[in-house]
C-alpha cells in the first residue's frame, strides 16, 4: 500500500549501498549460540574473499565463546538470505552472491552452547 498522505510521498531510503563508502552491509548469525544476543552487522568490501571472512572476520566477532575454537569448518552448514548455501572460499563475497544487507546464517553441528542451553 502507499502511505496515506497530504501530498506526494517520496523519500530516499537512508541505507542505500552508496552511503557506505564502498562497503556493503552484511549480517551474520551463529545459530544456537545466543550468548551473542543477536545477529551482528558489519560493513564489508564486496570484493573480500569468503575465506577472509571465515579466517579473519568471524573470529573477531565470535571467539569469546568457548565453542568457537571447536568449530569444524568443514561441517558447518550455511544459509544465505534464507536459502541453502555452500560458500566458495576462494571467491569474493559478491561472487558468492552476497549483496547489500544479505543475511548469512551458519550452524555448527555438535556444538550446542553453554551447558547445552543453545547460548
Amino acid at each position: 500500500m502507499s502511505v496515506a498522505s497530504i501530498g506526494k510521498y517520496e523519500f530516499e531510503p537512508l541505507d542505500k549501498v552508496e552511503n557506505f563508502h564502498g562497503n556493503q552491509l552484511t549480517y551474520f548469525n551463529w545459530e544456537q549460540h545466543l550468548l551473542f544476543c543477536a545477529p551482528v552487522c558489519l560493513p564489508l568490501p564486496p570484493e573480500m574473499p569468503f575465506a577472509a571472512l571465515v579466517q579473519e572476520v568471524l573470529p573477531g566477532v565470535y571467539n569469546k565463546h568457548p565453542d568457537f575454537q571447536k568449530i569444524n569448518w568443514d561441517e558447518v552448514t550455511w544459509t544465505l538470505d534464507q536459502a541453502d548455501f555452500t560458500p566458495d572460499m576462494g571467491k569474493s563475497l559478491a561472487d558468492n552472491g552476497l549483496g547489500h544487507k544479505s543475511l548469512l546464517r551458519f550452524w555448527t553441528p555438535g556444538l550446542d552452547g553453554i551447558k547445552g542451553s543453545h547460548s
Binding site: 496515506a4 537512508l14 552511503n19 548469525n29 544487507k101 552452547g113
Partner: protein
C-alpha cells in the same frame, strides 16, 4: 444535598457549554480548508456531535485539580530531597531503571505534548479538540515533573545528565523515539489510535502501574509520586483512547478495517517497546512486585480480553499476533536484558547478573523457560565476570527495520532460534524481527525505508566517528562512569560507602 449544588448546571451541560458552546462552523473559509488534516486518512465522520466526552472536566475544575496534584507532588519531592530520600532505596542497582526511564520514557511525554498540541488543532470536532488540548498540557506537566523528580538522583548517580541529547542519538533510545515519530507523522486519527488507545489504554497499565508500584516497594517515593500524579491524568487519557475508537467505529462501517489495521500495528509496536519495561520489572527492581508474565496476564490477557470482547460488537477482533505476544511474555524480559548485558559498554546505565536469590525468583516465576534457556547462560556470565572476563559483545547488532531493537527475539515455536523476516522494496532488502514488524513494513514501505537505524548510521559515519569511543562521546557519555558493568562502577562504590557509614552510625 445542598441547595447550592442544585442551582448549578449539571456536569454534562457544563461540559457541553465548554465544548459545543464555544465551537462554531467557519463561513469565510471552507471547513475543509480550516481543518485539512482530519479526512485524508480515510476515516469518514458524518456527525462530529456523536462524540461522547468520557470525562467532563471543565477548565475551572481542571485547573483546580491539577494544581492540587502539583502541590502534593512538590511537597513530596521537596521532602524527598531534604531528607536524602535516595539513601532509602533498596539498592543502587535500582537507579538504573530510572536512568532508562528518564532517557527513554520522559522524552516521550514531551513528544506526546507535541503530538496532542498538533491534533488538538486539527480535529474539526470540538469535543476531541478540547480533550486533546487538555492532554497536551498534561503531557507537558509529566515531562517537567519527571525531570524535576529525577534531578535529585542526578546529584549522586551517573547517566542522568543528558536525557534529551541522548534520546535523539543513543542506539536503544531510537526504539521509543521512533515509536513516537511514527505516530506523530501519521494523521490525527492514527495518532490517537496509536497513543491514546494502543499505548495509553491497552499498554500503559503494563508500563506505568506495576512499575510505579515497584518503585514504592523499592523505597523510591519521588518516582512513585510523580508516577501516580501522571497516572491520575493517564486515566483520563485512556478514556479518550477508547472513545476515539468507538467514535470512528460508530460513524461509518468503512472505518472498521482501517481501525483494525491501526490496532494491529500499534499493539505490535507497543509490545515491542514494552520489552524495555519487561526487563525493568524482572531484572532492575531489587524488590519485585510481580513478574512481567504476571503483569501481562492481569493487564493484557484479563483487562485486554474484556476490552476486546466489548469491541467485538463493532466487528473488531483482538490485535493480530496477540497470541505470539502472550507466548513471548515467557521470554521477552530475559532476551531484552541479555541484549543490554551484551552492549552495556555502549549504554548509559549498568547491567549485571542477578544475585542467586533473584535467579531463584526468576526460576520460580518462569518455570517453563528460565532454567531451560536463560539461567545457564546467566550463571556462565556471572562466572566469567567474577574471573575478570566480563563478557561484552564487540560487534554492533543487526536491528529490526521497524521496531529498531537488536534482533534478539526468538521464534516462539523454536525459542533458541532467532526470528528473521525480510521484505524487498525497490531492489533493497529490509529485515524485521517478527511477523508483526514485517506486516507494518509491508503496508507502508515508503515510510520505513527512512528509518534512522543507529547501527547503519554509525557505519555511514554520521555518529561522531568510526570507533566506539567516538560514538559514545557523541552520545555525551562519561566513559567508565555512565556505561559498563554495575560491579565496580562508581555508582556501586558510592552506594557501598554510604552503606558502610550507616552501619558505623
Amino acid at each position: 444535598m445542598s441547595g447550592k449544588r442544585k442551582s448549578k448546571l449539571g456536569i454534562k451541560q457544563r461540559y457541553s457549554m465548554l465544548t459545543r458552546g464555544l465551537g462554531w462552523d467557519t463561513t469565510y473559509q471552507d471547513m475543509d480548508k480550516v481543518f485539512p488534516y482530519d479526512n485524508y486518512e480515510g476515516i469518514i465522520i458524518h456527525d462530529w456531535d456523536g462524540w461522547e466526552d468520557p470525562f467532563r472536566l471543565t477548565m475551572d475544575a481542571y485547573w483546580k485539580f491539577q494544581s492540587e496534584k502539583e502541590k502534593k507532588l512538590y511537597a513530596v519531592i521537596d521532602s524527598f530531597a531534604q531528607n536524602n530520600g535516595h539513601l532509602g532505596i533498596t539498592d543502587a542497582r535500582y537507579v538504573n531503571a530510572l536512568k532508562l526511564f528518564l532517557t527513554g520514557v520522559s522524552p516521550l511525554e514531551y513528544q506526546a505534548a507535541r503530538g496532542f498540541t498538533h491534533v488538538g488543532r486539527q480535529f474539526r470536532g470540538v469535543g476531541p479538540r478540547v480533550a486533546c488540548q487538555m492532554q497536551a498540557i498534561d503531557e507537558l506537566r509529566h515531562v517537567q515533573t519527571q525531570i524535576h523528580s529525577m534531578s535529585h538522583y542526578n546529584k549522586y548517580f551517573d547517566g542522568l545528565h543528558s536525557a534529551p541529547h541522548m534520546h535523539d542519538r543513543v542506539w536503544y533510545l531510537s526504539v521509543p523515539k521512533s515509536f513516537f515519530d511514527d505516530a506523530r507523522t501519521a494523521g490525527p486519527f492514527e495518532f490517537l489510535t496509536s497513543i491514546s488507545f494502543a499505548f495509553e489504554y491497552v499498554l500503559t497499565n503494563l508500563l506505568f502501574v506495576p512499575f510505579m508500584s515497584g518503585a514504592a516497594f523499592n523505597g523510591d517515593m519521588a518516582t512513585v509520586t510523580f508516577g501516580f500524579s501522571a497516572q491520575s491524568d493517564e486515566a483520563r487519557h485512556m478514556t479518550l483512547g477508547l472513545e476515539v475508537i468507538k467514535f470512528m467505529l460508530e460513524q461509518d462501517e468503512r472505518n472498521i478495517p482501517i481501525v483494525q489495521r491501526w490496532m494491529d500495528k500499534w499493539f505490535w509496536r507497543g509490545t515491542r517497546m514494552l520489552a524495555l519495561v519487561a526487563m525493568m520489572m524482572d531484572y532492575m527492581l531489587p524488590k519485585r512486585v510481580m513478574s512481567w508474565r504476571e503483569a501481562w496476564d492481569i493487564y493484557f490477557t484479563e483487562a485486554g480480553g474484556a476490552l476486546f470482547a466489548d469491541l467485538a460488537r463493532y466487528g473488531i477482533k483482538p490485535p493480530k499476533y496477540a497470541d505470539i505476544a502472550t507466548k513471548e511474555a515467557e521470554h521477552i524480559s530475559h532476551q531484552a536484558w541479555h541484549i543490554f548485558y551484551n552492549y552495556t559498554h555502549a549504554a548509559a546505565f549498568h547491567t549485571w547478573v542477578p544475585e542467586k536469590d533473584e535467579l531463584d525468583w526468576l526460576s520460580e516465576k518462569y518455570p517453563n523457560t528460565f532454567d531451560k534457556y536463560y539461567r545457564p547462560r546467566l550463571e556462565y556470565l556471572d562466572k566469567e565476570e567474577k574471573a575478570g572476563r566480563r563478557f561484552y559483545n564487540d560487534t554492533l547488532p543487526m536491528l529490526c527495520q521497524v521496531c529498531q531493537i537488536p534482533m534478539g527475539f526468538t521464534d516462539m515455536d523454536d525459542p533458541t532460534t532467532i526470528s528473521f523476516e525480510v521484505s524487498e522494496y525497490n531492489g533493497d532488502k529490509y529485515h524485521t524481527c517478527s511477523l508483526g514488524c514485517r506486516d507494518i513494513f509491508d503496508y507502508e514501505p515508503a515510510k520505513y525505508v527512512q528509518a534512522w537505524l543507529p547501527v547503519h548510521q554509525i557505519y555511514q559515519g554520521n555518529c561522531g566517528g568510526a570507533e566506539v569511543p567516538d560514538v559514545l562521546k557523541w552520545y555525551n557519555f562519561n566513559l567508565g562512569a555512565d556505561n559498563l558493568e554495575y560491579n565496580g562502577s562508581p555508582d556501586q562504590k558510592l552506594w557501598d560507602e554510604w552503606q558502610a557509614h550507616r552501619k558505623k552510625a
